[in-house]
Homo-oligomer: 205 residues x 2
DNA sequence: GCTATCTGATAGCGCCACTATCTATGATGG
DNA sequence: CCATCATAGATAGTGGCGCTATCAGATAGC
């Protein structure tokens, strides 16, 4: 972690400035190191942009901010743009999403960023000829529910109140990465089972 | 979709050139449109880089290429770098991942990109003071298995052989996006239930 | 004192996903 | 037939992003 990089983060509002002990000497403490680790994790592992991280840390530092709002902040930049002539199927996808939320009794905003991102993804799938992929939506939603419950449980057990907000962001962002990797591993396994062990790698058999 | 952008994709090897009917007239067919949609979906929704997409389409176009290899290609650029003094906990994380793979009997390479990405994520979590998050790994793995099975089933039912490779990529990349959105929705619901309905949004009650 | 090191500020770099401009060629229409 | 206009291809430029290099000014430490 180079000094100029750190100063860059300070400039960008990701990191509070060190306490000046004299005009050319600043001291950085444990909170700074913690914050730096948060930045690196969100940046490298989570793939967030510096701007998104700024939004997150501003919200994290604001004691008035609710978990809900911070997550919204962290999630906003993740909605894809996927340009399309409006109304061409997006509307239908939005309805599908709203229907799913209603069917599951989820207390979630059908117009929020997460719902919108889902709708966009469904449209993209339909465009690619995979409109039927919605048939597995329920399986995905089941899995998502289970994972979300586990997340909440973890937070309830291991996270102190004053760390709720930061932990929620970390869990949301890194949890995605975690699940994504696990899904790939599970895919490998499943495809190895279906297509047979054609000794095409490190066949542990 | 502007013309210069399309030409850019041709130059970058993402899109085959149109068939020249005369030195200044090229004809683009359905395959080009399809490919363009694939590019936009992977780029906008999947968040892949142009370089990664090139790897994917080269592999997709190669009839010798196996699903396995193409997915490897698409997955490789997704492994985070997350610089760290080596051996400082990464090794332990790798062991955790290998143990998980073994415990589940997954036929997956514990040294492949997916396993490595998972290990890196675990290290990042540990760095952030969430080492205990591994306790929910099993829940995540269960969910991932279920989702992966559903994916395979979908492919088996709805995808023709010659589209296996492309569909696998699409499913892997857009499936991540889909699950991610669903998890966020499930989080909203869970947190709304835990923290009580403080009328902080569009309370559909 | 004298050098080495730190600070903050400004400007620049390298990569990436395009985009603008240019020339040559040929389609198009009165 | 000929003026206009669009298109192909090639080259160079743009804007954003995540840093990084350089520079003055100030001070710590010898």
């Amino acid at each position: 972690m180079s000094v100029p990089t750190i100063k860059f983060y300070v400039r960008e509002g990701l990191l509070p400035a060190g306490e000046l002990t004299s005009p050319n000497q600043a001291s950085y403490g444990e909170t700074h190191v913690r914050r730096l680790r948060l930045i690196r994790a969100l940046l490298d592992v989570g793939g967030l942009s510096v701007a998104a991280i700024r939004g997150v840390v501003v919200a994290v530092d604001d004691p008035e901010e609710s978990v809900h709002d911070v997550l919204g902040e962290a999630t906003k930049p993740l909605v894809p743009r996927y340009d399309r002539e409006p109304g061409d199927g997006v509307e239908e996808a939005r309805k599908t999403v709203a229907g799913l939320i209603a069917a599951r009794g989820w207390h979630a905003d059908p117009a929020g960023p997460a719902a919108e991102a889902l709708a966009v993804t469904l449209v993209a799938l339909a465009d690619l000829g995979h409109g039927r992929f919605v048939e597995v939506l329920d399986t995905y939603a089941d899995a998502a529910e289970k994972v979300a419950r586990a997340d909440l449980e973890y937070v309830a057990q291991h996270v102190a109140r004053e760390e709720f907000v930061e932990s929620a962001v970390v869990g949301t962002v890194l949890g995605d990465a975690m699940f994504s990797s696990l899904r790939r591993l599970a895919h490998m396994d499943a495809s190895n089972q279906v297509f047979g062990p054609q000794e095409q790698g490190g066949g542990a058999e």
